[in-house]
């Protein structure tokens, strides 16, 4: 009984986190703001799902494969977010470094 309730709570939280993050992706204005909502979707929700499978299945092959997928998501998410924002900055400004402005001039080049 306690196991079922725990699984239900964990899954409910995971779905709530996913729904809130997805709504955040829709509501925000640009990629810089939207990418913030990838983190709970790629880290919090997978960990909750992994915990639910662990509670349901115990230490088993199913749990191991679930945590393997969760591990890949958790590790990949920061790299992907960084690469996405880097690409967005290069598309917008021509360079990802903050010291170069929209006109391509570095601070030391300006009078």
């Amino acid at each position: 009984m306690i196991r079922e309730v725990t699984v239900d709570v964990l899954l409910g939280l995971a779905v709530a986190v996913a729904a809130a993050s997805s709504a955040g992706v829709l509501a925000m204005r640009d990629a810089y703001q939207r990418v913030h909502y990838l983190t709970p979707l790629s880290i919090v929700a997978p960990v909750l799902v992994g915990l639910a499978v662990l509670v349901q299945a115990g230490y088993s092959t199913r749990s191991a494969q679930t945590w393997l997928a969760v591990g890949f998501l958790v590790i990949a998410s920061p790299f992907l977010s960084h690469a996405t924002i880097r690409a967005a900055r290069i598309r917008a400004d021509g360079d990802w470094r903050t010291t170069i402005g929209h006109d391509g001039a570095k601070p030391e080049d300006k009078p």
Binding site: V7, P46, A52, S77, T84
Partner: protein, 83 residues
Amino acid sequence: MSAFVLAAIGMLLAAIPCLIVVWRGQPMDAVVAYEAVGSITVLVLILLAEGFRRSGEFELAVLLAVLILGSGLVFVRFLERWL
């Protein structure tokens, strides 16, 4: 219907706002939403595999979790340089 299958349906419904951004957004916005949909899809595969007790289908989720990183990097690289 088990809680895992219901959660998978909930996850699929949660993906709808991201799919709207993929459909209507600018390229960079669409890539961000695509990455979100990819994460949701991995979770859906895990939930369905556990819900229907098919241990072999967990491998799909593991593979997709690996491929999301590669495909996302390819997308952002193309957007950064050529598109």
